[in-house]
């Protein structure tokens, strides 16, 4: 909404260029728009300017009989926010006065498009610069002219945001802004994840590391994926303290300010005839490649299985599940089956590959559709913007889909000259569906992880087959005899036996009013109400394996073999209800005044308040009948039951307890900047926050978070005469941002469960945290040094260096044992307090080169954008350092160690294989095979510190080519300076979990092999420590560095002005290709670090069309 007010572009293009050098103008306190029109009519010269306050605000008195543009600008420029002018189809950047510092492509916005201002971008855009617009950057509280900014702002505009195709916003930010890292990896469960953008590395250990998302004016409390990228006008990332400290305690991880598209008042009277645009895209992606998972061949697995069988490893059958081969061998041994028959069956199993079947039955090509319609209209007193979007994604996992509907309506009304009101409503609804598809990483609750390599999911006719997974055939036989319900698992039959659907909605209502007292002073009141919720409905039908397994494992058998069912037959329904309600209010006084020509003071002061309540409730119904909604409410959740013939007393699982979180925030803030002679800018901000997390005693002694900054626009100096460097600006800032951790509380806290160690069924309380009245905000001090420059007419860019020092971080601190903090006997008791600190520094570089500048629309244009970031952050102080090295093996776990990045790879020193194929490590100063001692006793200081498991250097290069109506661009990204641990064969997991690895084929098999392989000889399957040493040794750590071709966009525009037969103003066709794969990788194992041991996603192809009516 503010964009309407604050970002105003005036384009007056003379269709009959009749340039005259001079013009006359006699107006008194007239809007600039009027003066511009006078100038345009007389000279054909178009002024470009920005305004923070809309067209009415900029008023001037001009009394000139005959004046040239140049003289006019010299005389009046100090009063006017004019940035450039267009004359004879060329755009002139006004040098050394007010200089353009951000360059972005112009797009035609229908709301700006009115009858008197017929703007055609291409008329000048392609001839000179693609269009130069000074976009004031937004920090969520105010708009700041870029040339007066001292802080570090990363900015992307609509053109760049809509360059790519995706459902979510985070992926649109990726590879566009220096300092913002969107790392890719996989979760512990093997699900590919794109991490939440990290702004300039981590600044916290245990607190939420997500940047603060601000949508328009307020922090967004819903799921950020609710926001339709098509609704976004631009995105600003606040990277340093001067930019972000206005957000106080929530700015420690950087702030991503998202400005949506809004209704904008027009400067000319016009009817409310709407302008429409429509866009639509469909994205196809082939099914993912599960063969990317390293796996042992069925033949190898079976051979190893037989060898172990012969050595007596698979002892007398018990409850442990066995593979069909072992079952057959058992039957042969028992004389139940003939050897030759068994051998023939085993031979055929060697040709089976469960991955082939998983690929076929669990995955499919995905199709994502996106449709978006928007309408807007504006008059001088009222404007609206309406949009509706629909996303329909059929995921590559069979049975999964995602649907989203978004609707927005934004109005701006000028009630009277001083009073303007804005309202906005945004509604999102989405639904996520899934079925019983176990995917490639099926995890049994009973021990085995995944299917054995030759599991057969379907027979030759495609009929579902049962797989042995959780219980031995003998056990199933025994329970079958007792008339237990069917206990077999047929993965393919099970697909339809589960229906999961999660429906979420989010409603955002904004009201804002601004009352203008004088030109310099106005008061704003803003209020936002947000209510979001989600209802998860997870039905495991009576026929599903999940349900049958749970029911059967609780069946009790009495001495006369009668069965009783503690869990009643029927389906199992899990319900999740999540609800979020937030109120945010803000009262803000804005002041801005110009003195003389080039001095300006901008200041804001405000007060804001927020209340956020989120609740989560769970419910579980047993014996659920989907036909009539009935269920069994008499479940005994207290008694311990053992499964038949097993001794594992457990209680019937019940729904988790409900949870509620309440966040209350109060804040006061002040932000001011003064610009002297358009040369020097000084900025300062201070903010004080209070929250209910800390209790009143801490809040009463809060320390304000503050920042200060300086900017020097060197090229405005009189002495400055470097022509090839027409623009040069130096910035320096320092300040503090904050962060909040929920780990610690000012209150004594406890959790409760039912039943303790003894058989009592009392509620049992555990104290989880002690009252700590000294708790404080985490603080991140940031120093930033920036240089903005333009080299000739070709290159613009900025280079920034920053240093961060995060103190008072919430970390585990060893407590005096007398405090009673001990949780686990023998382990130090600890508590969370402001005890840790981190250091970080880095460089961000952004360059834009207009390598070829077409002189007319038919000429070839080539623009390159390059971004580079380097970021290093290390734990500087952490009190609860563990010395044992094995505590630091999980690179995905937060395990802070002084001097290391938070996510780091540490490994055991690798000394190769010996002449019997055993892995050799290093212990007590010499090579050793005492794997247990090595694993348990190697100190962290004696480990190999491989380095960060997150990229430390990253960026992208984007080339854009334009020719006539064609545009093509491609983006190349790079991520460097980090490591990953590649998986390999674990001989203990091979039969304990049935997870194998192709490295099995490379194993040491005979003396001499140690020279060619690092894979140990097949070992004792019970010796897991040997495997754990090998798997965590430095031999398997690889460099993750890689360069990747991210995407290619090709588009073609048709416009009515060229093709009068077109029924609309403009139509754009585009083709977007993404996930195009690696161009280079550092590792020699052929592993794409995005897909280390998970199915590799295929290339995506999007076809789309945008139409403007």
């Amino acid at each position: 909404m503010r964009v309407a007010v604050l970002l105003f572009l005036l384009f007056l293009v003379s269709l009959h260029v009749h340039a005259q050098e001079t013009f006359k103008c006699h107006v008194k306190d007239a809007p600039l728009v009027k003066v511009s029109e006078i100038i345009r009519q007389q000279t054909g010269c178009t002024l470009l300017y920005y305004s923070q306050d809309g067209p009415t605000d900029v008023r001037i008195t001009v009394n000139e009989k005959k004046i040239t543009i140049d003289d006019f600008l010299k005389k009046y420029l100090g009063l006017l926010p004019i940035t450039d002018y267009i004359r004879d189809g060329k755009l002139f950047v006004i040098k050394r006065k007010i200089t353009v510092s951000y360059v972005a492509s112009l797009t035609k916005s229908p709301s700006q498009d009115n009858t008197t201002v017929q703007l055609k971008m291409s008329e000048f855009g392609n001839e000179t610069l693609p269009g130069v617009v000074v976009v004031p950057i937004s920090n969520g509280y105010q708009y700041i002219p870029k040339d007066r900014a001292t802080g570090s702002f990363g900015f992307i505009d609509r053109a760049l945001i809509t360059r790519t195709v995706s459902t979510d916003i985070n992926s649109r930010i990726e590879n566009t802004i220096p300092g913002v890292l969107s790392n890719h990896g996989q979760s512990a469960a093997g699900i590919p994840i794109r991490e939440i953008p990290q702004v300039r590395g981590l600044s916290t250990i245990y607190a939420n590391a997500s940047p603060l998302y601000v949508v328009d004016n307020f922090p967004y409390d819903g799921d950020i994926n609710n926001i339709n990228p098509n609704d976004i006008e631009n995105i600003t990332v606040l990277r340093d303290a001067a930019a972000a400290s206005i957000w106080g305690v929530r700015a420690g991880n950087g702030v991503i300010v998202i400005n949506t598209r809004k209704g904008k008042l027009s400067d000319s009277i016009r009817t409310l005839t709407p302008a429409f645009s429509y866009s639509s895209s469909v994205t196809f992606q082939a099914r993912p490649d599960v063969f990317n998972i390293s796996r042992i061949s069925s033949a190898d697995f079976i051979d190893r299985e037989r060898a172990l069988y012969d050595s007596g490893y698979f002892t007398s059958p018990n409850i442990t599940p066995v593979t069909p081969v072992v079952d057959l061998l058992n039957k042969v041994a028992a004389g139940a089956i003939d050897v030759n028959t068994a051998n023939a069956m085993i031979a055929s199993m060697k040709n089976q590959d469960v991955y082939r079947e998983m690929q076929k039955y669990f995955y499919r090509g995905s199709v994502n559709q996106q449709h978006y319609l928007q309408a807007s209209a504006a008059t001088t007193n009222a404007a609206y913007y309406f949009s509706a979007g629909w996303d329909h994604n059929l995921s590559d996992v069979v049975g999964s889909s995602y649907d989203r509907v978004t609707m927005r309506l934004h109005n701006v009304l000028k009630i009277s000259t001083p009073l303007q009101i804005e309202t906005g409503i945004t509604f999102t609804h989405n639904s996520t569906k899934a079925n019983g598809n176990p995917g490639f990483n099926y995890q049994s609750t009973h021990g085995k992880v995944g299917f054995y390599p030759y599991a057969q999911l379907a027979d030759a006719l495609g009929n579902p087959r049962a797989v042995s997974l959780d219980y031995s055939p003998d056990y199933l036989d025994a329970t079958n005899q007792l008339k237990f319900p069917d206990w077999t698992y047929m993965p393919l039959k099970d697909l339809q036996a589960r229906q999961y659907i999660n429906r979420a909605h989010d409603l955002l209502i904004n009201v804002g009013a601004r009352y203008t007292f004088t030109r310099a002073l106005n008061l704003e009141l803003k209020y936002q109400y947000e209510t979001g919720g989600a209802n998860g409905n997870d039905l495991h039908n009576a026929s599903s394996y999940y349900t049958r397994d749970l029911i059967n494992s609780f069946i009790q058998v009495d001495p006369s073999n009668n069965l009783s069912y503690p869990i009643p037959p029927g389906g199992i329904l899990d319900l999740t209800t999540q609800e979020t309600i937030s109120h945010q209010g803000r009262l803000q006084l804005n002041f801005r005044h110009n003195w003389g020509r080039q001095n300006n003071l901008t200041a804001i002061a405000g007060y804001e308040i927020k209340s956020l309540t989120s609740t989560l409730r769970y419910d579980r119904e047993y014996g659920y009948d989907p036909d009539n909604g009935s269920f069994n409410s008499s479940i005994d959740n207290a008694t311990l039951y053992s499964s038949y013939q097993q001794f594992n007393p457990t209680k019937i699982p019940s729904a988790p307890l409900p949870a509620q979180q309440v966040d209350h925030f109060l804040g006061y803030y002040l932000n001011a900047s003064y610009t002297l002679h358009n040369l020097y800018t000084v900025s300062a901000s201070a903010r004080e926050d209070a929250a209910n997390l800390f209790g009143v005693s801490t809040n009463n002694k809060t320390v304000p978070l503050w920042s200060g900054g300086l900017a020097w626009q060197i090229n405005h100096e009189r002495f400055y005469h470097i022509d090839w460097l027409p623009f040069l600006k130096l910035r320096a800032t320092y300040g503090h941002n904050g962060n909040v951790s929920r780990l610690a509380s000012a209150y004594t806290t406890a959790t409760y469960t039912q039943g303790g160690i003894t058989t009592n069924s009392y509620n049992v309380g555990y104290i989880t945290g002690l009252s700590n009245p000294n708790l404080r905000w985490e603080q991140v001090g940031v120093f930033n040094l920036g240089l903005d420059f333009t080299v000739g007419k070709t290159i613009t860019g900025s280079l920034e260096y920053y240093h961060k020092h995060a103190t008072d971080l919430i970390g585990a601190a060893p407590g005096d044992p007398t405090l009673g903090l001990i949780q686990v006997p023998g382990q130090p008791g600890y508590y969370y307090a402001n005890s840790a600190s981190m250091n970080g520094s880095g460089i961000d570089l952004q360059l834009e080169a207009r390598i070829l500048e077409g002189q007319s629309s038919s000429n070839f244009k080539w623009t390159a954008n390059f971004i580079f970031s380097k970021t290093v952050s290390k734990v500087q102080k952490y009190l609860l350092n563990t010395t044992t090295g094995y505590s630091y093996l999980d690179q995905n776990a937060i395990n802070p160690h002084t001097g290391q990045p938070i996510y780091a790879i540490n490994s055991f020193k690798w000394m190769g294989l010996d002449n019997v194929g055993d892995p050799i490590g290093y212990y007590n100063g010499k090579p050793s095979k005492e794997w247990t001692s090595i694993y348990n006793n190697t100190l962290i200081d004696s480990m190999v510190h491989n380095g960060s498991s997150q990229p430390t250097i990253f960026g992208a290069l984007r080339n854009t080519f334009e020719w006539r109506h064609f545009t093509a661009s491609f983006n190349i990204s790079y991520k460097l300076g980090y490591y990953f641990r590649r998986p390999s064969i674990s001989y203990s997991d091979l039969f304990n979990h049935w997870t194998g690895n192709a490295d099995y084929a490379l194993r040491w098999q005979q003396p001499g092999d140690e020279a060619r392989t690092i894979v140990p000889a097949a070992g004792d399957p019970t010796n897991s420590i040997r495997d754990r040493f090998y798997l965590n040794s430095s031999a398997l750590v690889e460099k993750a560095d890689h360069i990747r071709l991210e995407d290619i966009v090709i588009s073609y525009d048709l416009e009515k002005k060229d093709h009068s037969w077109l029924p609309f103003e403009k139509i754009r066709f585009y083709n977007y290709l993404s996930n195009l794969g690696l161009l280079w990788k550092a590792n020699k194992s052929g592993i794409d670090p995005y897909y280390i041991n998970i199915p590799k996603e295929a290339r995506r192809i999007s076809l789309g069309v945008n139409i403007n009516f």
Binding site: L587, L666, G695, V696, Y762, I767, P817, G826, Q827
Partner: protein
């Protein structure tokens, strides 16, 4: 509408928001899943945490038992002990090899839980309907705190003597604040705190409890008698033993005991007044030590305890079904304590009667002969002998040794042979007092360490 009116309409709610009371707004409870203990039920749940309050799965100090003479070890068992336990077995000067000392850490956790409950309950004004549950929670908190401090005192302070002005008592935790710093109270204050806590619990607790994990009046009396006995205040100990036995006096007849499983007794057998367990380490790991040979030889063949208490020379007679070393309160202990107090106060008949009441339940049917004593000292010696034979592996022997050593006539020099080396512990040695963990000394500027061992 006038613009001015509209402006006021906008400003009014803002003024209201701004005026809403800041402290109330900022005092809202941030998270329901981490409940701040405030209600009686919350506090009772803390008290019902049998892991923390009764030591099941965690445990009360075991260093006393490890230092006592109930057991001996061969090199096999010794090798299985932790280094700290190995040091305690041989009464080494420095005991701890690990910065964390469970014997200190775990009871202080019990103290914390009690303090949290007491603080929360202090803010509650119960209705008439809630009075009973309020009393149970508050009485339990007092009881557990007294119980835990007593366990600590047996390990980390010297035995109590009348008129002792020893300044090296326990640090007494008063708050729940994480920033609290500690100094040691005097020994006198420590015992006063223990007695005050236990006494405070008496009017609040019900006579008997619904579960052995919950304290009762019987348990509070029984605990007070244990405390006064350790302080050698025999007349007072007698009174409390008597009070306890008036509520709970049942003894199991071992002739009718049907072993429940591998271990003969159940956790809630009729003698248990209050259940608690020591940390399962060293000899308190049941089955990982041999019972002292002389002690084992002292049981008559017709003594059923020989069969129920021991298996292949190892003690299995814990009043617990999961093999935790029992350090709670049971009626047999109270009978023996009362018998001792009778003997020490010259009431030979009553002393012998109490001994008879107990021993008739321990001997096989038909083999029991009533006890007689020639004089008070003879009575005392007999009671002490039976006490030794009845109350094994209950953490009581250490306390008994400490107090009995203060009287030359009942003092004992302990010896133990480990790997061919003979170790001795002379009566009243400073090694009867373990060091306070170095961690605690380091973190508290004014914390004084115990005398050099």
């Amino acid at each position: 509408m006038h613009t001015r009116h509209l402006l006021y309409t906008i400003l009014l709610p803002t003024a209201l928001i701004a005026a809403c009371k800041k402290s109330t707004f900022l005092d809202a409870k941030p998270d329901s899943s981490i409940t701040i203990p405030t209600s009686i039920a919350d506090c009772q749940a803390l008290m019902d945490n049998d892991n923390v309050m009764n030591g099941y799965g965690a445990g009360y100090p075991s260093l006393g038992e490890t230092g006592s003479d109930d057991y001996f070890v061969n090199s096999g068992f010794y090798g299985q002990y932790t280094l700290t336990d190995q040091n305690a077995v041989i009464w080494a000067a420095d005991t701890y090899t690990d910065p964390e000392v469970n014997d200190w850490d775990l009871p202080y956790r019990t103290v914390l839980y009690s303090n949290v409950a007491l603080k929360a309950l202090g803010n509650i004004h119960p209705s008439a309907d809630d009075q009973d549950s309020f009393n149970l929670a508050q009485g339990s908190a007092f009881f557990f705190r007294g119980f835990a401090y007593f366990q600590l005192a047996q390990i980390f302070t010297r035995p109590y003597a009348d008129g002792d002005t020893d300044p090296l008592g326990l640090p007494l935790r008063k708050t729940t604040d994480i920033n609290e710093k500690f100094t040691r109270s005097s020994l006198d204050s420590t015992y006063k705190q223990i007695i005050d806590d236990l006494s405070a619990s008496i009017p609040l607790l019900p006579n008997t409890s619904s579960a052995i994990t919950r304290p009762s009046k019987a348990a509070a009396y029984a605990m007070l008698t244990r405390v006064y006995l350790s302080m050698r205040k025999y007349p007072t100990a007698l009174l409390y033993a008597d009070s306890s036995l008036q509520i709970r006096n049942e003894l199991m007849d071992y002739n009718t005991v049907v072993p429940a499983g591998a271990l003969p007794f159940t956790r809630s057998n009729p003698e248990v007044i209050f259940g608690a367990a020591m940390y399962r380490t060293g000899p308190c790991f049941i089955g990982r030590s041999f019972t002292d040979s002389l002690l084992l030889a002292s049981y008559q063949p017709s003594d059923l305890r020989r069969d129920y208490f021991f298996s292949r020379g190892r003690f299995i007679g814990v009043y617990d079904e999961d093999g935790y070393a029992f350090c709670g309160l049971a009626t047999d202990e109270i009978y023996l304590t009362r018998a001792e107090c009778y003997a020490r106060t010259g009431n030979i008949n009553n002393a012998m009667n109490d001994l008879d009441s107990l021993m008739i339940k321990r001997m096989s049917t038909g083999t029991f002969t009533p006890y007689t004593a020639t004089d008070a000292n003879d009575a005392l010696q007999q009671v002490l002998q039976e006490r030794r034979k009845e109350l094994l592996y209950r953490g009581l022997r250490w306390t008994d040794l400490r107090r009995l050593n203060m009287d030359a006539s009942t003092a004992t020099t302990l010896t133990r042979t480990v790997a061919g080396t003979i170790y001795t512990l002379s009566p009243n040695s400073t090694r009867y007092v373990y060091y306070i963990p170095q961690n605690v000394i380091n973190l508290n500027a004014n914390m004084q360490q115990n005398p050099t061992r």
